[in-house]
């Protein structure tokens, strides 16, 4: 067991190093998109942890991402903490909010929980317009600066800020997946699966269902907060428009496309979310379509994919394929 854990850690390390090296050989646009994928991977993983393994629904993770983004930016701007500390503060703040929300969520289920979290996603970002310290619609600037000189020197000079963002996001994403993967194999993971599978049986086995759900909500929120802080870093600012209802739906869509119980699928889900606008833009440009078409087509295609996934592979394409070949595990 210990050996396999070390092996898995080594694989994660190798993938991480490969991606960081690969960033030297691709266009800066792809580096930026790679960072976007990494941010989505964390956000989708937070949904997978919550929905796929603990059986709770959230349509408001965009709001928790907003809390993470704003907390990181505010602590960086006003307390002048190092940017890594600001990410931790962002993540912790979202965890606290998630804990409070989780207390309510533990008493709710199905559409009631979906409705509660949805209301949060609608209402929370607009708070920025009520308090001047949050910068209103214009938002707050969040510029973490360039990579340290020693990294730029070691990697051969042209180390752009986007490459630095890619490094940070990728390391965070890989660490997140590794963390969740291990967590799911632990006592907590087994507890969540038991609660998701049959709450009554789990309760009879001595599992504190409420506690288990609150813990899952808190951890999921912490990850959403981290992805929000990273998103703010990528954008260079935090503003209500960065955390719209569309974002909440987008990450849920990514999770469904990935398969809500499939952690590695979060990479595919995140890639799909980034690749689709790219492809539709290329097609619209090629066909001489208007700017409005290329702006709206990705949403249409993603929605269609979502409907098709729900209709034909409700557990995600990967599990659907497994089921077809006779191994649903």
């Amino acid at each position: 067991m210990r050996k396999s854990k070390s092996m898995s850690a080594l694989i994660f390390l190798a993938v991480g190093i490969f991606l960081l090296i690969a960033s030297n050989f691709v266009d800066e646009l792809r580096v930026y998109q790679g960072a976007q994928v990494a941010v989505y991977v964390i956000a989708i993983s937070s949904i997978i942890l919550l929905t796929g393994f603990s059986g709770q629904i959230s349509l408001g993770h965009g709001a928790l991402m907003a809390i993470g983004g704003y907390a990181a930016a505010l602590s960086y701007i006003h307390w002048h903490v190092p940017f890594l500390a600001s990410f931790i503060i962002g993540s912790f703040s979202a965890a606290v909010a998630g804990f409070i929300l989780g207390l309510a969520a533990a008493r709710l289920s199905g559409p009631y929980l979906a409705g509660t979290t949805l209301a949060l996603a609608v209402g929370l970002p607009s708070l920025a317009n009520q308090f001047h310290v949050l910068g209103g619609e214009q938002g707050l600037s969040f510029d973490i600066g360039e990579a340290p000189m020693w990294i730029a020197h070691k990697t051969g000079g042209d180390f752009t800020q986007y490459k630095w963002f890619f490094w940070i996001s990728t390391i965070c994403a890989i660490t997140t997946i590794w963390f969740i993967k291990n967590l799911l194999q632990s006592r907590y993971g087994r507890t969540w699966k038991a609660v998701r599978g049959n709450p009554s049986a789990a309760a009879l086995s001595g599992i504190n269902i409420g506690q288990s759900k609150v813990l899952a909500f808190t951890l999921s929120s912490a990850l959403a907060g981290l992805s929000g802080a990273l998103l703010a870093m990528l954008l260079g600012l935090v503003a209500p428009m960065a955390f719209t209802l569309t974002l909440s739906f987008t990450i849920v869509t990514g999770a469904v496309l990935a398969g809500v119980t499939n952690l590695t699928g979060s990479i595919v889900g995140a890639l799909v979310l980034v690749v689709i606008p790219e492809l539709t833009d290329a097609v619209a440009t090629h066909l001489g379509g208007s700017e409005k078409i290329s702006a709206n087509l990705p949403g249409l295609i993603t929605s269609a994919l979502l409907i098709l996934t729900v209709l034909f592979a409700p557990n995600g394409p990967q599990l659907h394929k497994r089921k077809k070949v006779g191994n649903p595990s």
């Binding site: 930026y32 214009q138 595919v268 890639l271």
Partner: protein, 439 residues
């Protein structure tokens, strides 16, 4: 187990294939370009613009990029710029700084534009500044009057065209003191750097308001918000109201005031950004009676003044290339910015470089022909464009004529600091023949 492994491999294969596809598609453009500068080939110059084509601020402003494109098409059909045709890549930012950041990334990294022109919105331009500075991309003739953009250290590649909101507020403040002394004045303003710049200008000339009503950008789409504005205006007892927001906010405020029975009870003064009569007429037709007699501040001639040689020429181009767009302030702004862009590109010579373009504006920009009544101030030490406004009065048919009478434009010039407001004579270069620069 075997199946599980092969499925996992499948997932990774899909991921790697997608990443590889993205990476490979990133390679071409630059490697095969015969010209060394990004966005320039022997036959084309690629420019980019971000504007709200959708969302709460889109009405009116969504005409600006197409007016620019119409003018560029006209120039292209007449030989282009030193033999190169201008391509304009238009991106929708929905008036959101976040989206502006995203589409500017695309313009610079994916579309690989040579320069940005006419990018619209104070907050939007601020949001993209860091990246633009890092890449050294010239940002010409931005469609915003935030005074901060003239700071050459903070915005080294940005060239504002509009007189600043600070200057505009000073000019309006001075006009209020002169013509509306003793009146109770209220102010509605956009609560971001756009409006804050204006507040500083009003404070500079000591204008006092019986009510200052801020609004969050985008909130003008909410009827309850508009109701609060009107209630605040009525409660303040104001008899004169300055509207310092975007066109959709002006239309919303006038529409709300009409419903509340304030028609004929208030003298409206419209800031230049939100004073396009065509847009207001379209958005709030009921507000038309309120526009009769409204005072507007402008730096370009009235779009309805066909006697003006610039307006006349642009109207003519719009007929052929404007695809049926009604000629208004937005079309005038777009074409004027496009004509200045053509002159800047011509001044930069045949060996186009980003640095050369900026140097050309700094050395020759003050002599460029443009519709604006105030002189252009670009130099090696200043990025300030126009510096003055004139005041007009709107008629029932929404045409605007100078307050002193048709054709009698009086210019008030000032700075974005404590300088005086000076009544200045109008002096501008003549419109180039057929509207085609020859500099």
């Amino acid at each position: 187990m075997l199946v599980r492994r092969s499925t996992k491999r499948g997932v990774f294969a899909v991921a790697i294939a997608a990443v590889s596809a993205l990476a490979v598609s990133a390679l071409p453009a630059q490697a095969f370009s015969p010209h060394s500068e990004i966005g320039v080939t022997s036959s084309t110059i690629k420019l980019g613009i971000t504007v709200p084509l959708t969302g709460s601020a889109a009405p009116g402003y969504n005409k600006v990029p197409y007016a620019m494109k119409a003018y560029f098409d006209y120039v292209n059909d007449n030989g282009g710029v030193n033999g190169r045709k201008i391509q304009l890549v238009i991106k929708d930012d929905a008036y959101s700084p976040i989206l502006a950041k995203s589409v500017t990334n695309d313009l610079i990294l994916k579309d690989k534009v040579f320069a940005l022109v006419g990018t619209l919105g104070t907050a939007n331009n601020e949001a993209t500044t860091k990246f633009i500075n890092d890449k050294g991309v010239p940002r010409l003739f931005v469609n915003t009057g935030f005074s901060g953009f003239a700071n050459t250290k903070k915005y080294p590649t940005t060239y504002p065209l509009f007189p600043s909101y600070f200057m505009e507020a000073k000019a309006i403040g001075g006009y209020l003191a002169d013509k509306f002394a003793g009146k109770k004045v209220a102010l509605l303003y956009q609560d971001d750097d756009f409006g804050i710049d204006a507040l500083a200008g009003f404070a500079q000339v000591g204008t006092t308001f019986v009510a200052k009503i801020p609004y969050a950008s985008g909130s003008q789409a909410d009827p309850t918000v508009i109701g609060k504005w009107v209630t605040s205006i009525a409660a303040s007892g104001a008899d004169t109201v300055v509207l310092f927001g975007v066109s959709t906010a002006t239309a919303a405020a006038l529409g709300g005031a009409y419903k509340a029975g304030l028609a004929g009870k208030i003298q409206w003064i419209l800031g230049s950004v939100g004073a396009d009569p065509t847009t207001i007429k379209t958005l709030a037709p009921t507000a038309l009676p309120l526009l009769n007699g409204a005072i507007t501040a402008s730096f370009l001639p009235s779009a309805s003044d066909s006697a003006d040689e610039y307006v006349k020429q642009f109207q003519s181009i719009n007929v052929t290339y404007g695809k049926g767009a009604t000629f208004d302030n937005n079309v005038l702004v777009g074409m004027n910015g496009a004509m200045l862009t053509v002159q800047a590109l011509r001044a930069a010579g045949t060996k186009l470089t980003r640095a050369g373009l900026m140097a050309a504006i700094e050395s020759q920009g003050s002599k460029f022909a443009s519709a604006g009544f105030a002189p252009l101030g670009w130099s090696k030490t200043s990025h300030v464009g126009y510096n003055g406004y004139w005041f007009g009065r709107m008629a029932a048919d929404t045409t605007v004529t100078p307050v002193d009478g048709a054709g009698k434009y009086v210019l008030y010039t000032t700075d974005s600091s404590s300088g005086p407001i000076v009544k200045s004579a109008i002096a501008r270069p003549a419109m180039p023949a057929k509207g085609l620069p020859t500099n």
